[in-house]
Symmetry: C2
Subunit: 112 residues, 2 copies
DNA sequence: TGACATACCTTGCCGCGCAAGGTAGGTTCG
DNA sequence: CGAACCTACCTTGCGCGGCAAGGTATGTCA
């Protein structure tokens, strides 16, 4: 009863974060709000999603973290490494595959 | 620590099955193969996904089951009830929202 | 007889995504 | 100076969705 590979629909938060960070360096709290913005409120990831994903991406070498004091408060800025760029490419391709597959299914005539 | 509402990316198997069954009455084993077909191999749902979803949709009144002997073997054909049609509409709308949100995020310029 | 396809089903579990809660500094305002 | 609220970071705990695996039974064809 092994659960070998991840469910086919997962990994979207990861995809979104990598994509955002490709455009510019950002910190967690900022990302939480940016996600709502760029997805036109369609998707809202809480901090309980964002921070863990950030940490795991850093651990796997897809992101680099840089602590930076701003106004006497510390922010952790993340930027995408080459490894992260690769990962983004893989996730994007997979997303395209899956979503266009679903689109195809939905696009079929209502009655055969 | 309550888990109130379902994760934003879930319910795709349900969506797919309802959509297929809208086109014609089908039985489980047939659906397993149909999903691969209509999604151009992009998505493959095993029987361990399909049957439980079928049962839960029936329990909730979205599907009606009809046992029908074919070649001395019994098949269970499922068809969509009005309730199921409503559910399909809701799921489709939600999928459109989410997937176009992601599309928007992915479509942004690589560097700001 | 064995192998393979059809056709149904359930069990068990992994891990994603999430709500909730916790810490701490900054500002604003009465 | 306390209260209320925003910024900014974090972890804990868990529900449940999706899945692999395994189980039953009939049909069929070499």
């Amino acid at each position: 009863m092994a659960q070998t590979n991840p469910p086919f629909m997962s990994g979207v938060p990861e995809l979104l974060l990598l994509r955002l960070l490709t455009q510019r360096e950002m910190y967690g709290y900022e990302i939480v709000k940016a996600v709502r913005l760029v997805t036109s409120e369609a998707i809202s990831l809480g901090e309980g999603v964002v921070y863990p994903v950030l940490h795991s991406l850093e651990r796997s070498g897809a992101l680099r973290a840089r602590r930076k004091p701003v106004n006497g408060r510390t922010r952790v800025y993340y930027s995408v490494t080459p490894k992260g760029t690769q990962r983004l490419a893989r996730l994007t391709a997979e997303w395209d595959r899956v979503s266009s597959g679903i689109q195809a299914a939905l696009g079929e005539p209502e009655h055969a």
